[in-house]
């Protein structure tokens, strides 16, 4: 089955991005396709490559990027939400791309299920 995922919150402050990541990993492990993860609202902060968690903490920015690379997941950061919050190409982590909100609607159309994680 083809899943799309929406992540509304940044890393650390809310569990939403963690939950979405664990869900995506489990879906792929079960043979499903995760077609796209769309990052909206504070979710755009998941794409900040300067993020440097403590050594014993998880690094969600890297984990998402790795997942994208290994499983061909399209990580899309909403351009409008990102501009506001200062997430630009200069600090965009590998694996992410910045695009329009239409990519979220498209994900809703093209996926069998759109799964939403937020606060």
């Amino acid at each position: 089955m083809k899943f799309g995922i929406l992540v509304n919150e940044g890393p650390f402050t809310h569990q939403a991005s963690d939950s979405a990541y664990q869900f995506a990993k489990a879906a792929i492990a079960k043979g499903h396709e995760v077609f796209r993860v769309f990052f909206y609202h504070d979710g755009v902060n998941n794409a900040n490559k300067l993020s440097e968690p403590q050594a014993d903490d998880r690094n969600l920015v890297e984990l998402w990027g790795k997942l994208a690379e290994e499983s061909d997941v399209d990580l899309v950061v909403c351009v409008a939400a990102a501009l506001r919050r200062g997430i630009k190409d200069d600090i965009l982590a590998p694996g992410f791309r910045i695009s329009g909100l239409g990519q979220l609607i498209e994900a809703g159309i093209l996926s069998d299920r759109l799964v939403v994680f937020g606060d």
């Binding site: 609202h41 409008a80 239409g102 609607i105 809703g108």
Partner: protein, 129 residues
């Protein structure tokens, strides 16, 4: 990857946008409205629900000058021009907040909880924030 402008899907899905949060205290109301506006370009079957504190988004007379934020409530009136016409408000949520239809900035359909439940159950994609 297809470009937004070229994208012309044959499939029409029922999209529901659920608004349960008050405006200004958080950005969800404003940014979710942006999503609704974009969705209009995709020729899908779009519905928007306001319930719980989300009904406050539609309150008439918003004046944000004193908090230096942008008053986005007039945009709800523009939805009609984007062919987003299915705006639903839960009656119970409205009443619990001491509001009536006259308090709202835009024409909506006021639904009982039972009616709203049926509409929500009939959707293909539900986007909430």
């Amino acid at each position: 990857m297809m470009d937004e402008d070229d994208f012309n899907p044959e499939v029409v899905k029922r999209f529901l946008f659920v608004n349960r949060k008050a405006p200004y205290g958080t950005v969800y109301a404003l940014e979710s409205l942006e999503t609704v506006l974009i969705s209009a370009a995709f020729d899908q079957d779009v519905s928007v629900v306001f319930m719980d504190d989300g009904v406050f988004q539609l309150k008439k007379g918003q004046d944000t000058a004193g908090i230096n934020m942008k008053n986005f409530s007039p945009t709800f009136r523009a939805l009609d021009g984007y062919d987003v016409e299915k705006l639903y408000v839960e009656k119970e949520s409205l009443e619990a907040r001491g509001l009536t239809e006259d308090d709202l900035v835009v024409d909506v359909e006021i639904l009982s909880t039972d009616e709203l439940r049926e509409i929500m159950a009939a959707q293909d994609v539900v986007i909430s924030a």
